[in-house]
Symmetry: C2
Subunit: 358 residues, 2 copies
Amino acid sequence: MPRHVVISIDAMGGDHAPAIVVEGVELLAKAFDDGSLEVLLHGKASTIEPLLAKYPVAGRISKVRHTDTHVSMTDKPSQAIRKARGSSMWNAIEAVKSGEAHACVSAGNTGALMVLSKVLLHMAPNAHRPVIAASWPTIRGASVVLDVGANVECAPSQLVEFAIMGEAFYTALHGKNLPSVGLLNVGTEDLKGNGIVREADMLIRQADLDMNYQGFIEGDGISLGAADVVVTDGFTGNVALKTAEGTAKLAAEFLRQSMKRSPLTMLGALLSRSAFAELRSRMDPRKFNGGVFLGLGGVVVKSHGGTDGYGFSNALRVALNMARSNYAQSIAVNLEKLAKSIETTNQLKRAKQESTNA
Amino acid sequence: MPRHVVISIDAMGGDHAPAIVVEGVELLAKAFDDGSLEVLLHGKASTIEPLLAKYPVAGRISKVRHTDTHVSMTDKPSQAIRKARGSSMWNAIEAVKSGEAHACVSAGNTGALMVLSKVLLHMAPNAHRPVIAASWPTIRGASVVLDVGANVECAPSQLVEFAIMGEAFYTALHGKNLPSVGLLNVGTEDLKGNGIVREADMLIRQADLDMNYQGFIEGDGISLGAADVVVTDGFTGNVALKTAEGTAKLAAEFLRQSMKRSPLTMLGALLSRSAFAELRSRMDPRKFNGGVFLGLGGVVVKSHGGTDGYGFSNALRVALNMARSNYAQSIAVNLEKLAKSIETTNQLKRAKQESTNA
């Protein structure tokens, strides 16, 4: 039997909570109805319990943990943190901290979830900042891109930490060992890019990591699958992710308009309905729902706030894969190597400095 | 009659030069065959002249300026500059400097073209760094995005210069006065983003520019047409542009695969051929060929190196539109306002500093 996993859910987070949350639990639970999955639903019992009555499998594997309060979608992180104690989000994370659950999922306020996760779970050893990793459809399947928004400015060593965490995340999701890792840049030659990516590239090569590092990749390489794991700062990653979303919408809109241009093309569209359905499904953002906060002392998955039950079930699946993986051990080895490599470099610099001063 | 324009072309630049160059001249010349357009073709006369014999309109409006040397596509800018004097690229730019031509177009080595343009034409008054602007298809038509690769690190005041130059470029291309201008960021709220975009946003608001400034836009806003002019640094802009190209390729490939899934969808695809042709045409990168180097003391347009005659004719059209516009005067006013605003801010800072020290 697979490893027994408990997922702790902020049942009140998101635009359509708790209905889509319970529906999402039902969808996942049906696929893993072997007794190995258990769910804690944090939130208002009087709202959640009637929903569980409607979904028999979810009802069987879920325990409701009542609380009257929840963090609002519009609260700023600073406000959220003041009134968060005892909220559904706080309690969902707390269950991971106490060891009762293996992973936490919330479709609530991103900023608040990030701050509370950091406060409650702290950072993993040798990790310095949490990072948000997202799945991205590619011609070869799916890639992982990180950071997509947590850190708008990154030091080179942080980018290397992201590479280490992204690699382990990819393995947890897709079961592939030593996935290829690329650093996003404006060209693939050594001399291209700004000082930060060039230094990060050098650091990765120096640190002798257990990693299939491919060097620089360019923006078009993401969708073309040039690397399994694409590493960048949170500013560039967020812009790239949203630019791709906008371009996909543009292509879909142009296609829709073109198919309407004549009775013949409209007939063609009718005959091709199953092809368009397949296309929509392959590009479906709900399939790629579930941004993971990496670098923390526990697994926290952020679902898109506006998703539906199917989308939420995919965020739960990401949490389940993470919980069943050896993610924490995988990153520990490489993060320690990185820390040592940086320490050695700094010692050499200091020694050189001292001999210059002497 | 429209303003008489002379375009100076590096006929030897690009992967398929000079054949596609002359073909491109023919395509443009046919559309502007009223005596108002003249072309200088810099390069090897013995190669260019037989081509001109094949294209009657191009032959009529073109003058060949012979030179034996040209800058290679693989030369580094530093190598190129040493041996560039007298090359087709050098001479093409030189004709703009001397006032003989109104704009220069090259499909050659980007780095070399940038360096030579800067050396020969210098910067426009109050402009500090050249920037590459590109056209981008959107749901509402087309936007201009800049910088797409010239400056991988940008100070806030540079982003404001880009906004000023992008605005005037948009007007030159599309004839629309006061196009909307947005600053690319990871969120639309004031507090989002890194220090550079936040300070650039403040600078634009303070400088009292003649500009329809919309504030921050996000990555998906580019393709959705959230602003006519999208301003960002050359690292983010290059990644965004290439990410969009990759996503468009991904969508096209998924569509192609889906249409092949059954005999019925293949029949549907056959009936919809005209729709797919229209779609391809709307997304055709050749239509958006012609990245302009803004901020220089003259117009230089960079065509994609691998383009064909149709693509090159679109780069020529961009040069023609720029040459016929009031671009230089438009940016002069706003750049001066910006320089004054920055000077005032600096004076206030110094005064405050002195009173603190006193």
